[in-house]
Symmetry: C2
Subunit: 456 residues, 2 copies
């Protein structure tokens, strides 16, 4: 029997464990699932005979080393900052490792050691990053094999609420870590390049500079730019590409309303506010408005941000009950971002039967024989329930498939890496398609940035 150690039994592990348990009979697998909370692990194992749970503390070096030595491969589903010690042990004890997280600088430094020992440390093999890399590279490689010149690559991903559960004015609920949603876009200007012209958007304008996109069968969406699209030029081997843009998808109208919170300063996580515990939502909003005791919070906000009374943005604020003078923040020494997250959680927490949705779209513009063409490749995945979400499926399934293929030596590329080699993405995308994670590709007119083609 092959032993697989899975560290972390949180939201993103459900589908991974389900997949590997389904494969456990044919492939002769045994899973050891470690988490600080054994209940989480037990729930996902559901008494399956080919798995056991253990209380696992990643900071306990002795236990970590012991379990890594007892395994044939290690999958870390912990938050990214916890991977590095696991990775070092994996290298020490000659074990391959898989994570869905971005390669950290520290992780990168292990590349040589991994290669010397012939080990695979596979990262960024969830959904974004992960499926985005693999599905993009598949089309990029195909275009390049035809000796075409790639002119444009735009890529958009979003974790949203499924249409059947979409019942608020924001067309949004927290389907993943709410904190990341509140802080999205912070930490530096967004950077991208369009037809050879560099563009930089500061955070406070990010949600006012969205792009629209259409996903066949799912309608119109918008996307705000991710922080650094430029670095993906070298990642994808597209160093001289004139247009490179990556963005995050929301339903149309979300960003314009979200911008209210940014303008007010409510997404700031860098300082704590005084007396936050007993503060009403109304007083919280008032922290960010001019002092004028004879004017209402509502009027001050509308005047400050120039919101018409019949603007749907206003209805969105009212829907959140953000002007309530009875609801309390209830957090000691809250940052503005924590206060906002509390208010949003009242309205944006999934109901028991709500389902989530992952949407992704790539645009590839290229020139072949003097003719400009464009391919649009789109993916929509709807979650099953609140355990087997679209997010858990699109993160966990590629992780599980990769781990199994590494274990079976079908994936052989060694080193600290991300899944951009054909040897890796091809079989994984094929198996994802068998599991309903399949891109729809179509040819569209080459768009470019000529206003006539924009209108046309």
């Amino acid at each position: 029997m092959k032993n697989i150690l899975i560290i972390g039994a949180g939201k993103s592990s459900s589908y991974l464990i389900k997949y590997l348990l389904e494969k456990s009979y044919d492939e002769n697998l045994f899973l050891t699932i470690g988490d600080i909370s054994i209940n989480l692990a037990d729930k996902l194992i559901n008494n399956h005979e080919n798995a056991k749970s253990v209380v696992f503390d990643v900071f306990n070096a002795e236990q970590r080393k012991e379990f890594i030595q007892k395994s044939d491969i290690v999958i870390s589903m912990l938050p990214a900052r916890f991977h590095i010690e696991v990775a070092k042990d994996c290298i020490n004890y000659h074990r391959n490792m898989v994570t869905a997280s971005y390669v950290s600088k520290e992780m990168k430094t292990l590349d040589e050691a991994a290669k010397q020992k012939g080990l695979i440390i596979m990262n960024e093999i969830g959904v974004d990053p992960g499926i985005d890399h693999m599905s993009a590279m598949q089309v990029i490689d195909r275009i390049r094999e035809n000796d075409a010149k790639i002119l444009l690559f735009e890529s958009f991903t979003g974790g949203l609420i499924a249409p059947e559960s979409d019942d608020n004015l924001w067309n949004y609920k927290f389907t993943w870590n709410p904190r990341n949603v509140v802080l999205a876009g912070q930490g530096g200007a967004a950077k991208f390049i369009q037809e050879g012209t560099y563009k930089y958007i500061p955070y406070h304008k990010l949600f006012r500079r969205t792009e629209f996109l259409n996903i066949n069968g799912s309608g119109k969406f918008e996307a705000y730019a991710n922080r650094d699209s430029l670095k993906y030029r070298s990642v994808y081997g597209l160093d001289d590409i004139p247009t490179m843009y990556r963005g995050t998808i929301r339903k149309v109208g979300f960003s314009r309303a979200w911008n209210i919170f940014i303008q007010l300063g409510m997404t700031d996580d860098s300082y704590t506010i005084e007396n936050s515990f007993n503060m009403s939502y109304r007083d919280f909003v008032n922290l960010f408005l001019a002092y004028s005791p004879s004017d209402s919070v509502e009027l001050k906000l509308r005047s400050y941000l120039k919101i018409d009374q019949d603007d749907v943005m206003w209805e969105k604020l009212v829907e959140l009950d953000i002007f309530s003078d009875t609801k309390k923040i209830g957090i000691e020494n809250a940052t503005p971002a924590q206060g906002l997250q509390k208010i949003l959680s009242d309205s944006w927490t999934l109901k028991d039967d709500d389902k989530d949705m992952i949407v992704m779209q790539h645009l590839f513009g290229y020139e072949i024989n003097g003719e400009k063409r464009q391919i649009e490749s789109s993916l929509v995945v709807i979650g099953e329930d609140q355990t087997y979400t679209a997010m858990a499926k699109t993160v966990g399934l590629p992780v599980g498939i990769a781990a199994l293929k590494i274990l079976k030596k079908e994936i052989k590329t060694i080193g600290v890496q991300i899944p951009i080699a054909k040897e890796i993405y091809k079989p994984i995308l094929d198996e994802l398609a068998e599991n309903g994670i399949q891109f729809t590709e179509r040819k569209v007119p080459y768009l470019g940035y000529n206003p006539q083609s924009v209108n046309g």
Copy 2:
């Protein structure tokens, strides 16, 4: 003879050196003026017999220790981050020290050692911080001595161009470090309290939330909030004061136009832009606008920020020649802030006969015998020329006066400190007044934040 070591012969040292040289005969002083550039020091010494210049490198520990040991007191006019090593040596070798900079955390940790050795490490004794502390504390102490309750303290300072040299649409030139002007307000939300209500302004709204103020004889000004007004409550012993606000003064209309640069993202100093050296001002502006090659940079900017074509803000941009396609940034790997600074420097650099101006105003609201009153205290200082500027005078003179009084043991309070004790501020303010740095005080109606009194 008493030896005074002055480290740093930059812009802010001119008046300090002039003052101490004037006193050198009566007080038996000899100045050693150290700077990396001996020319700067020589120019300010101007062959005076009671001073000598030395090439001085603050990072040369041996030289630093040697000169500190040879002095009776040390004045550091270097940028704040260079003070700490000087301060440690001063404590080791039993020397008093004076700086015009904010007390850093590291500097604060030397307090106990300074006290044990009976030493004075006087900081924040320039203009802002410095004269603001002293002039505020003088009035605050007087009000408290009358058993009145202080309700409000607002304090504003600005380094501006003198009216006779004010010849551009911005009513502004660089009279001090241009980099600090471009980066002003960054690094966290502005925090203050008004009638017991905390207020927080994010950077991208800071210049749209200005307050107006009138300075008798000098007209109307505006001020944007400083980063942390709250901490001054404890500094001034006003922990329970309901209104505490500190701001930076500009001429009316500056902030509204400056906000354009913030909105565009041009004041960002956190990343470098590609190909900046040969970039025209026009292309620089275009980095921050949507990609649309068939539209002009001008129209894109006006549309993005909703600027009417006949708005004076527009004229301000045109005056800077910011849309020039021939003028170049000329800096390798420039940050946006560095690029903007270059553009502004073309227009905002002082002409040979330009003079600068320091303006300061404090408002003190208080209640005595059930009656609310307000005192307005204002200072205007005009520079003499480009060496003996108002900034150099208001920074250097209090430093020089303090150093001399410490040397003569007229100031006795020991420890790492700022000038808020009466023993310190009283004689210094008196001598500043003799030198033309004198506040004008008048009683005004208590304003508060009632709209009727605002209109009244």
